[in-house]
């Protein structure tokens, strides 16, 4: 019973933290320099790993798609299948999971260390809101950079799928590209970008909250980081289901 109550309190704390972050986000001074620093750390810093995972995800999709569709003589549809899968689903989800592992954990560790070494208390004592100074730039940067990273993932993924589909599975490039154009539509892209945008907000809010509320020295920071990664991953899939259900339910 106590654990259930603690879980509800924890969730309530996360919701209040998100509300406080939203409220501070619209208050001056606007810290563009910090936003750019975080955008560089989260966005530019994650580009390579996102591109590499995207490339291999697209290559695997093309192999699997060709394996399934050639049974019906529909190999030409592999291009469309790869594109739709990447744009609507795998691009945003995989990108969010990669950013969670790379940047989410780093954010929790950094803020957690600042909390347990009283650096956050020091900031508060200097009449500076740590939510405004530390949390808002990280959440905004992750929310804005996630769709861009998802586009990188999707583009490299489609490129990888094309290489495998056309040069390994020997699907003619004409039908590969034509079916992509025919199957992929603007709503698919807005659906994927909306997901990435939401994942960016969810992942960064969980990561910052876990760090901000860390306690108990180095061990506490370690536990907070583990929780941040686990709960971000779960939240990504839950939000993914919700948005997909709303879109095509």
């Amino acid at each position: 019973m106590g654990r259930i109550r603690a879980a509800f309190e924890d969730f309530g704390g996360q919701v209040l933290f998100a509300g406080e972050t939203l409220a501070w986000a619209f208050r001056p001074p606007f810290r563009f320099e910090l936003l750019l620093q975080q955008a560089a750390a989260i966005g530019v810093g994650s580009t390579f790993i996102v591109a590499v995972t995207g490339l291999f995800a697209g290559m695997v999709l093309a192999l699997q798609g060709n394996y399934a569709m050639r049974q019906f003589g529909a190999e030409g549809y592999v291009g469309g299948f790869v594109a739709i899968s990447l744009v609507r689903e795998l691009g945003p989800v995989f990108t969010a999971l990669m950013v969670t592992g790379r940047s989410g954990s780093a954010i929790t560790t950094e803020l957690g260390t600042m909390r347990v070494t009283e650096q956050i208390d020091a900031m508060e004592s200097m009449a500076v809101s740590p939510i405004h100074y530390l949390v808002v730039p990280r959440v905004l940067a992750a929310t804005l950079m996630m769709p861009i990273l998802a586009v990188v993932f999707t583009a490299t993924g489609y490129f990888g799928g094309y290489l495998i589909g056309v040069y390994v599975s020997l699907i003619p490039p004409g039908p590969y590209l034509d079916h992509t154009k025919a199957m992929l539509d603007v709503p698919d892209m807005t659906h994927g970008l909306t997901k990435a945008f939401m994942f960016g907000a969810v992942v960064s809010l969980i990561a910052t909250y876990r760090g901000y509320s860390a306690s108990g020295g180095a061990r506490g920071v370690g536990e907070a980081t583990t929780r941040a990664v686990v709960w971000s991953s779960v939240a990504i899939l839950m939000v993914d289901y919700l948005l997909t259900f709303i879109s095509i339910g």
């Binding site: 070494t117 009283e118 208390d121 020091a122 508060e124 004592s125 200097m126 009449a127 500076v128 809101s129």
Partner: protein, 246 residues
Amino acid sequence: MIRIDGLWKAFGDKEVLKGITLDVEEGTTFVVLGASGSGKTVLLKHVIGLLKPDRGTVTVDGMAISTLSGRELTEARGVFGMVFQGSALFDSMTVFDNVAFPVRERERRIPHDELLARVIESLRVVDLGEDVLDEWPAQLSGGMRKRVSLARALVANPKIVLYDEPTTGLDPITTNSVDSMIIQAKERRGVTSMVISHDIASAFRVADRLAVLYDGRIAAQGTPEEVRRSDDPYVQRFLSLWFEKQ
């Protein structure tokens, strides 16, 4: 300047503060002396609004800190500078950026030259030169970190400076120099200081008034001489060990 009235605080079943009442007058140094775990740091965190009391009030410079929250509390903290036990320097910033931080946040359009001059002046108060400006906190010794922390607390000319165990873990020479800095901050800048400490020698050196905290209550309060002559058994025992050594 600081008035604490009937302050109670518990964490779960553990009562840490049990009805603390004290006054800190403007321009004086007030030391709260007590053994580890007596509730000193919890008391200090109530003064700056980092913790909320279960009962009682904390009034600072006419503001009821204990009832404020959010933006009002953030703005009210403008009267404070605070020196933390572990210095709490921002480890992602150089010494210059650490000391400049409170000024930059309050005067966002301050020219760089003026900011640099204020940082150097503040470092000079704690006997540090310009050579440390580009150092990182991890490169400094414990004593130097403490000095930089004090420089950061003083740079924005606060009315009140709070010290959390400023001499813990320091050698006798550095302890003496930190004591001198606390006295100088009062004499040169006219700040009101509240010091939390278990260092009896240091407390008697810097205090205008002091209180001995025991088990969440104030066992004795007054001038150093009045506290020394207190007939409270805990205060007698707490002080006797040190005075016998002298």
